[in-house]
Symmetry: C2
DNA sequence: GTTGTTGAAATTGTTGACAATAGACAATTG
DNA sequence: CAATTGTCTATTGTCAACAATTTCAACAAC
């Protein structure tokens, strides 16, 4: 986990994690002044961070009123989002199979072992982080990572919510299945596993 | 055209238009101080606007250095973007055909007549504005506009560049063709025309 | 010649004070 | 009593000053 040099990134990462892990529920208002004292900094960087998160779809902003944590997407919107994510990540995987750069496989293996532990543990924030990191690794590989900024806000808007043990290990197994297919060079299988994993 | 209450939105709209219409070329650095004096306001709202545009993909930000107008997407990225736009807008059109709300048709007809004039004229900013407005109208219709925030950054990242007369009237005709199919209730034809229009 | 160092200029990052606005609630009016 | 108007407070919007960082050129050391 890279630590940002500037405050706005630190604040944004922190809030992003708390929202995604369900510690701050949809509808909750976030006040600049409150956050400023909570983080012990001024309102400036807080404003920047909130703007970031708003553009990422995690917050909903109303001029002169402030921001609140956005609601989860409607079924219709989620359906579209799923298609978009599949399109992006499948494109990335397809691009990878053209080169089969082993560097990615190594990074995915590393991520997998960490993810396994996290899924067994109780830190949901960690689970979220590693799950996103897995998919980001895949997306980063293609076309010098040009797809990342396209992918991130779409991914975030899914508001992936994790429920205990049951799902988590299943999620790990799906990740593992994708990586296994990539190791074996079976493109169709990898793409199919990816498609089934994104729901 | 709605005028924003706060400065940051005004600045963002203004810069967005200038970038999309090619008045500010890719790679051009944008300095906060310069813009502040140019607009006659302080750096605060400028910062906010630049952050907006960065998240929209029009600018590229480097910490402690500043922002520059982003480069046009690579062929690979553009290819993905085209797929995503088609997915979103096609979903919206499909949703419209379930209701066939005539309000949209009226708005599209209005937009078309304005667009026709603009394509004949010389104000590229106006052309960009109306072209985006057309597609936004379509996207806004579905699911209470929930897709708009998903769609906008993807649309903007295409860096649609317009070349003189030839293309413009062709673009108008394609818009008109889509609307014609919708008026006639021919869903397949509308979707096909839309798909061919987004390239 | 190449490489490292240093310092000044330009630029962004951060801060605290002040202005403007929205929303709630009380006062007023018909 | 309903509707409107006024006022107050919490909150965001804006500003100008200051701090930190990057960049680049001049210059020294090897």
């Amino acid at each position: 986990m890279k630590l940002a040099a500037n405050l706005q990134e630190q604040v944004a990462s922190h809030l992003r994690r708390r929202i995604l892990s369900g510690q701050i529920l949809p509808g909750t208002p976030l006040r600049e002044q409150n956050l400023a004292v909570e983080f012990g900094i001024s309102r400036g960087p807080i404003r920047d961070a909130l703007l970031h998160l708003t553009k990422e779809g995690l917050l909903l902003a109303k001029p002169n009123v402030g921001v609140r944590v956005a609601a989860e997407p409607s079924a219709f919107k989620r359906h579209v989002i799923v298609h978009l994510r599949r399109e992006i990540e499948a494109s990335a995987v397809t691009a990878w199979f053209a080169t089969r750069d082993p560097a990615l496989l190594k990074r995915l293996d590393d991520n997998l072992s960490q993810y396994k532990d996290a899924c067994g543990g109780s830190d949901l924030g960690q689970v979220v982080e590693l799950d996103m990191a897995f998919h980001r690794l895949v997306v980063e590989t293609a076309d010098q990572g040009s797809l990342v900024d396209l992918w991130q806000p779409i991914m975030l808007r899914m508001f992936l919510r994790y429920s205990r043990h049951r799902d988590l290990m299943e999620s790990y197994n799906e990740h593992a299945g994708i990586v296994r297919a990539m190791h074996a060079g079976r493109e169709w299988e990898a793409l199919e596993a990816l498609k089934l994993h994104i729901v």
